[in-house]
């Protein structure tokens, strides 16, 4: 883990930004008072930097593509279907999977903060939490998709899910053509983070060969 260069020059903080100093001061007060164990912070950070990420969600999607019974389970009880693969807990307590079809494309946003399904996608990218995406995803989703390079047929309806409660949404992208007979592992390589947010599509098999 990258720790920066601040451990060996305690006397000169002039190179640190205001927010770096502010967060450092906050941590030192909370640690000094015994409210926070710095090793717990390390463990939290390591979890989301190393152990959790969109490969988890890609496994869910690949299994749904390959296994009709699993797909049906994901449709009717996504929380349990996802938990069966070991992806559980914080910010994924109440999951709903929404499936893209030729007629309708799903896209997820949290206009009010940064709600995002951590166990399957990891922590959200900066753009997901930023004002440009949060403001326009509900007003002009087709324009937002164009910024991501996604151009859908004009007849494809767009359905935006604003995560205003503790329910977390996972988009099931359409399975690309020409992937019949591919293993779940190979299918998972076609599933991008953005395709599970709805700001992207699954990759074509040629793209990963």
């Amino acid at each position: 883990m990258e720790h920066g260069d601040h451990h060996h020059d305690h006397d000169d903080h002039s190179h640190l930004s205001e927010i770096e100093l502010r967060v450092r001061a906050l941590e030192s007060i909370l640690v000094e008072k015994g409210y926070v164990d710095p090793a717990a912070i390390d463990a939290l950070v390591e979890t989301y930097e190393v152990k959790v990420g969109p490969r988890n969600g890609a496994r869910v999607i690949a299994k749904a593509w390959a296994d009709p019974a699993y797909r049906e389970w994901l449709r009717t009880d996504a929380t349990a279907a996802i938990a069966s693969l070991g992806f559980i807990g914080r910010q994924g307590e109440h999951m709903v999977a929404v499936e893209n079809t030729p007629g309708e494309h799903n896209m997820v946003v949290c206009t009010l903060c940064s709600c995002y399904p951590w166990p399957v996608l990891g922590l959200p990218p900066v753009w997901y939490k930023s004002a440009p995406y949060r403001s326009r995803a509900v007003l002009d989703p087709r324009g937002v998709l164009a910024e991501f390079g996604v151009r859908l047929p004009e007849t494809t309806r767009i359905r935006v899910w604003d995560s205003t409660a503790e329910v977390r949404y996972l988009v099931v992208p359409m399975r690309p053509e020409g992937t019949e007979g591919m293993s779940e592992e190979a299918l998972a390589d076609l599933v991008t983070r953005d395709s599970m947010i709805g700001t992207g599509l699954a990759r074509q098999p040629e793209a990963v060969r």
């Binding site: 927010i19 926070v36 939290l44 930097e49 509900v138 995560s163 409660a165």
Partner: protein, 219 residues
Amino acid sequence: MNGAQDLGGMMGFGPIAIEQDEPWFHAEWERRAFGLTLAMGATGSWTIDMSRHARESLPPAEYLTSRYYEIWAKGVEKLVVAVGLVSAEELTQGRSLADPAPIKRVLKAEEVPAVLARGGPAERPIDQPARFAVGDRIRTRTMHPQGHTRLPRYARGKTGVVELVHGGHVFPDTNAHGQGEQPQWLYTICFSGRELWGDQADPTIRVSIDAWESYLEPA
């Protein structure tokens, strides 16, 4: 509250800054701010709804010019002072000046996997039957509470259809203010783009929110 967090439908923020191969954190202070927020959340000193309200209570100009983990760090600062764990003077001076206050629990590193796996489920048993069923037409209330709410401005006073019924969920509007969980039925409500944005809106668009029962009335 009608704070800067309520961004749906605003204009003028420019293009979406998409970063290829984005790292999980962009600086060490972001790692610490993230970890501190979760570690302090695990002490049980406040609820997730109180956290969200602390962040959205930042003055709009400050909210909109702060990086996201900066908003989180500022939220923790407000909360530790609000619940009496740290004094404003200690934050200013950057060091502890008094004995610690009692705290419910302290998260240990070895407990992290279990605590994250447990998460914070928001579903609760609820006695009364659901007022609405899938397919019902509803209208969202027009309201502008001073405190926390999860009904975005763009979806107030709008007619939509109940699409999902999620069960009883903790009500953020009370839980953010120490008034208890007071669980209510939670629904997914779907609106047409034209209902939300007017006749010029793209007719192929639908938008849903998740809304607690008291946000809704029959249409």
